[in-house]
Symmetry: C2
Subunit: 219 residues, 2 copies
């Protein structure tokens, strides 16, 4: 048996549930929502590539055919998981900037981009869903919208920083430049690609040193 398949809560059959609940609605209740949440958890635990609808069904206590009454296929579930993930990242980034004293200072920018790394490392499977090779997933509305608005908020913060520090360059371009670096850092850390060639890399120092090079005027 796969190490990823875990059957923690077994046999919460719909009928039992109906007996417990004062107001049993349908056979199961809000299975759609339950499955999305379960999928979110499972993806975090095992990675999206090892996520199976069957696992989610076992955990939710329904048959493996049940999801198809609510979702087109496995991919639609992952779309909703990805959407949630984008909302989480957006929240975390905004919070980080606020905590660091706003976007006007370099410290604010450091915090903004460091939060991207933190999110990636703390939510690797979700991060891969959001930015990895999943063309169909990311083309879907919900996801597309969340991704765009996440980026917009970053651009807005960078624009504020540029205005405050006299940077005249297009703030979207500045954002893309910084994002690109930070994304590379996140990927190489996550995938442990530094391990083989620079195992003692201080990635926080690297980010701290590099960010000014990318935000400020050319040397």
């Amino acid at each position: 048996m796969s190490p990823h398949s875990k059957g923690a809560p077994l046999s919460i059959c719909p009928l039992q549930r109906a007996a417990e609940n004062a107001k049993p609605k349908y056979h199961h209740g809000d299975l759609r929502q339950t499955l999305v949440e379960t999928a979110y958890d499972l993806v975090r635990e095992n990675g999206a590539e090892h996520f199976s609808l069957a696992d989610a069904c076992r955990r939710a206590g329904v048959s493996t055919a049940a999801p198809y009454k609510h979702f087109r296929d496995r991919n639609e579930v992952l779309e909703l998981v990805t959407q949630r993930a984008f909302l989480e990242l957006t929240d975390a980034s905004m919070e980080a900037v606020k905590t660091a004293g706003g976007p006007q200072t370099l410290a604010g920018m450091q915090a903004l981009f460091a939060s991207y790394i933190t999110f990636a490392m703390g939510n690797q499977a979700l991060f891969r869903l959001m930015f990895g090779q999943h063309p169909e997933l990311k083309k879907a509305e919900p996801v597309l919208g969340c991704g765009q608005s996440c980026f917009e908020q970053v651009v807005t913060h960078v624009a504020t920083y540029c205005a405050a520090t006299g940077i005249t360059e297009d703030s979207k371009l500045v954002t893309v430049r910084a994002w690109t670096f930070v994304h590379g850092l996140a990927c190489l850390l996550m995938d442990e690609d530094y391990e083989a060639v620079a195992p003692d890399l201080d990635h926080q120092a690297l980010l701290r040193d590099t960010l000014p090079r990318l935000l400020h005027a050319k040397p």
Copy 2:
């Protein structure tokens, strides 16, 4: 074809002579080598996540159980594919630097890192195997060794550039900084993550503009 495509020292296969004789002596001939090459092609065509040993078997004209006489499992085949890919990248990078007039000039560095992007875009599936989330794969010797020596050669070139242009910073650190950015660029391009937010991005210009910021002294 690359000089690396044939006799690596690890071919323990006792049927090596079949390759020399052009007369297959066993049921199939050098199935081991054939399967690795077929796998390489299939991964390039369909991506590693859609690669199946069964496909490779059909294409090679053997039963689906045959590979297990030569390989531990599907993963071992992918290890060998990844090893080949690293050799290709190393070749391509060295060639690019040479063509651009050597590592002493900024143009040489541009060519070096641009070749990383070119390789990634032209060999997306292989690139993902090499740098993506495949911990077991990348921990395997052959692969580890190839990856390290690929990196070493880049560091050597960067060191030459640093020496030629009076940069005193540790050239490994400089390499890591540039690699990180270029890797981010490669990933975001491959995964089409710019499409939703900056569809008209000129990534060549971005690289050209950013590389000096990462190689040269801090502003």
